[in-house]
Symmetry: D2
Subunit: 344 residues, 4 copies
């Protein structure tokens, strides 16, 4: 940490900063410059109370040199973490699983038809919401426990592992009984009660980036889960808010190599939410893979024009089959491989 003094700060002010730093248990290293003095804080364990220093007279700003997260960082653990949600379905190695399925579980017929379509297309895992966070209280909120049971049925029929969302502590425990991987949605990325809950439960977690979360914020939220003892975390880029209405979100694929450099955790791409428009999903899935994504999660509905939620961004079953084929070609071009369907 570096404390930058104002141009012309009095030497008594510099001295006070130095003495406060020492009082906090660190070493202070003043660096008088041509235009101003800066004071290094040495021995910083990452938990220095910057606010206290920033509030001292003569201080212009505090510059953080060390990242505020720890266990998620590649400096802490250099080798990549591999998260396995079911036998043969791992994120973070050479293979790239494809998670697909409808936005919401709507009925037994719909989810079974969807699951069979995922297998037919060559997908690796099944997604589908039983508990749905919706911006409007008047939108379809999901089937709840009944939806989870239908997901379990689909798994028995197809062998596909299940990824589904939880919205609060109580829900997380219910979801954990059935799901192979618990999803924490973008709106809940900083719901710390929920993060601690899924951290304690210990099942694999798919953590989606919040709508205006920086990569540092995303990693700090993952740190909440790891700090509870659960390192089975898959991050997910799903687009952020932007000024351009031409797509629903701005799909920030640079997040993928950025996360790979800063953290040992795997990261997948969600082109369905990342773009919000059906005909953008396939090119952007290819792009996510080419950027280095460790998996793709994509919405598919057996009958998108009857979907109760997010129909306009859901692929048709035959579009999913084409997408998987194209992803196989791109993966081969960069020395990776799409994970085969577990049922196959």
């Amino acid at each position: 940490m570096l404390v930058v003094m104002q141009h012309g700060a009095a030497s008594a002010e510099v001295d006070r900063v130095v003495s406060v730093i020492k009082e906090m248990g660190y070493d202070a290293r003043p660096m008088p410059g041509a235009q101003r003095t800066a004071i290094g804080v040495v021995g910083n364990d990452g938990r220095v109370n910057a606010s206290r220093l920033a509030a001292l007279p003569g201080v212009q700003e505090i510059i953080h040199v060390t990242k505020p997260y720890k266990q998620v960082s590649r400096e802490w653990k250099p080798e990549s973490t591999i998260v396995t949600i079911a036998p043969g379905v791992s994120f973070g190695g050479t293979d790239i699983p494809i998670i697909s399925g409808p936005c919401s579980v709507e009925s037994e017929e719909q989810i079974l038809e969807a699951a069979h379509a995922v297998v037919a297309a060559g997908g690796t895992a099944l997604r589908g919401g039983a508990f749905k966070p919706r911006s409007s209280p008047y939108s379809f909120q999901g089937l709840g426990k009944k939806g989870l049971e239908l997901l379990a049925l689909a798994r028995r029929e197809t062998g596909l592992p299940i990824v589904t969302e939880a919205m609060d502590d109580e829900g997380a425990h219910i979801v954990a009984e059935i799901a192979d991987c618990i999803q924490v949605g973008a709106r809940n990325m900083q719901n710390y009660s929920l993060l601690k809950s899924v951290g304690r439960i210990g099942k694999p977690v798919l953590l989606k980036r919040g709508m205006a979360a920086t990569i540092a914020d995303l990693l700090l939220s993952a740190e909440y889960i790891l700090s509870e003892g659960n390192s089975q975390v898959i991050l997910c880029e799903r687009g952020v808010r932007s000024f351009d209405p031409s797509s629903r979100n701005m799909f920030d694929l640079t997040a993928i190599p950025t996360v790979h450099k800063l953290s040992h955790l795997p990261i997948v791409g969600d082109p369905s939410h990342g773009t919000g428009i059906r005909d953008k999903v396939t090119p952007m899935a290819r792009a996510a893979l080419a950027a280095g994504a460790d998996g793709i999660i994509v919405e598919m509905h057996p009958h998108p024009d009857n979907a109760l939620s997010d129909g306009a961004q859901s692929l048709f079953p035959d579009q999913l089959a084409t997408l998987v084929e194209e992803l196989r070609a791109v993966a081969a071009a960069i020395g990776r491989r799409v994970t085969p369907s577990p049922a196959a």
Copy 2:
């Protein structure tokens, strides 16, 4: 709602859209244009499944004419809602309460000193976090229930009503036993489990705008609370994420007249989080008032350089006194009045 067809869409495609609209129970009104056809959906009750229409062949886009929220809108209830959190402390009328206090409750001595400073400065209510959402799991997380008891003690000593945050359903019930107004923080603005919980509890709620929430999103989150039967909601503008690192957030004061036009709910301004920098707090509190804010919430700490959280944006007690004085002058200039301290 308006369904815009692609340039050159076949008339069979137009016919299919019309028939789907009718199948959904609405009237369809095609408008052939020079460049393309648009089809009006008449009789729309605000719950049309747009995704289904967007997914039909030949459809270019769906344009929403009616807002997706209802009970929070001024069209639904033209007269302004006045939310009273304690006798003499109301939001939404001519008077403008000033809520102040530290970011976190840290100790009995600190919160009592802060509460007395609020009264001395002319403030109207006391804020202070007992449960703190922090980006890092290693930051101070608040004193919990003990903090709530200290807030109750400060109220007994000074008469100031209490505004404090809850982070989940369980916490909301605990907070509700003591607080006069339950705060839902920016990170939890779309935590729908929490919104439903505070909706059912029925106490006044201070709902902060999320970091990348549009005004429509904020109103939809408030709609969750109202749809549970609780209309005692105070909205809060506290800055949004932007590309400019020169302040911690971008304080969007236009949100104030925008909310006043769209909704009957009161809205307050939080210049402490809105700017994140102590010397910007006073001018931006004045600006919020001049823009029409129904209250001001501002951080003050008896000793900011010892604060355990957010010290750099907390005012010193004498700065709060100056701020209240300046707000009184601006309020008078626009025909309003700063609410006197209840203890006075």
Copy 3:
């Protein structure tokens, strides 16, 4: 400047950075920390080639301590600059001029009617575009030189000084013959050819903030003008792009106290472009004044519903009169004064 080394950088890498810094003519001050080494660059004159250092092996990042601008900064010149565009019309002191008029000059009748309405309302200067930057090539592009002559006529008739925009070097010379203050629009904030041109011309310049310009970018653009020898620069906050479609731009009023702290130049607020919606203009003009603006620039059209451009954000003449009255009250509340009309 601070060069932060990677965790575990080899000491040979640290040595190489030190020797490159010395080769560049500065002193290097290594600071070994608990987690990594940082190296201070001492004697930095603000022109160090950071890219060269960033590219060295083992370097994680470069942190800039000194701001990249110089002559615009308050450290360079502590006292506020007062820019006088006509006798009695100064920006940066206690008095607050109000610049008003139509988006575009459309006809003799229109601009004269507008100028008289500005005087009647108590405004201080006349704005109106002769050269108009429009997003679409098919929109009205302004009357050009003819428009400038009409502005000169309006000045003769009313005594109001003229503020009008230039779009390129040639246009700037033409505008300078007539205008009292040359406006550089938001789209041209980083048109460095134009900035140098108005710097050399030497007339007062109103420099609008670009749509995604940080405060540092705005100050750097002003630095281009000052570095040509022209310090008569008035900055203008006019809203930036955001994710929220509820207003045309996000009006960033915190820019006002931020500029006042960093720079000696005056800054005015433009609530017309800042919000883009007529009924938000008056509250946000009040807010800008309360935030400390050194002037207000606001669109008014004698007949907004016939306006050839930006009609929906232009005030009616009687709304301008009300606005001036309200600004007088707010100005008085904060110890300032609206500049009287020069014609009065």
Copy 4:
């Protein structure tokens, strides 16, 4: 265009809107709805003065159905435009040219070494700035005409066509004498004087997206060039401003399929500016290609740590060779081909 009336607008207000629409020469088609009335404007040629309608009493908002650009749209010209800047170097077909070279031309030795490195790596065209727009007036501003002559020399030596930037009308004419393609930079995307100038000159133009430009803004700026009779325009995605400091810009690759749907013009990706960080350039170049880019423009410097500008994002020559090889593999996977070096 659709005029949406306020809830409860009087029928006289509706009538007035209808009569103004007719007065403007269009047909009006009122659509009374359950909650409000909307009025369709039929016969709209894309040039309706929306402001005038928005300003009428009772009008809530104006919704544009037709896009404001015309000649750049795929509706206007369904087949893709192919822009050829030199024999064998075309953008918009199956082949994908790779443009590379340093940020700035610095010396004869540097640009020749760079050009030979581009050929050796398998690149197709040479970039290099002679006129440089720099945020700070104190940064290196380019060699000007001398730089252009050095680019011509490099072309004679290697056969690579030249892409270089112009900043104003005068500069555009100078650049046009030598360059094969004139670049308009992000900061000048809405410099309409420059756009008209390069439109009239008639040479191929590489138009970069502005820092906060929507896709519609980018297309409107291209429309300025086409409306002057020059359809040889290559668009360029180079990242936009965002809230996340983890990369210099946010590289919006969804822009590529979005442009392909809306427009017949080709679009290339610039991962150097799009990310700003050397080790992100290669994965994001791959991603741009996989998203459908019609070309890649990437900075390479023979000795990045001595570069006078943007060194930290420039590739080393051997990194460029690896990048081209990886792009060839990805291109083959999606049925396209990297254009071979013209010299080869």
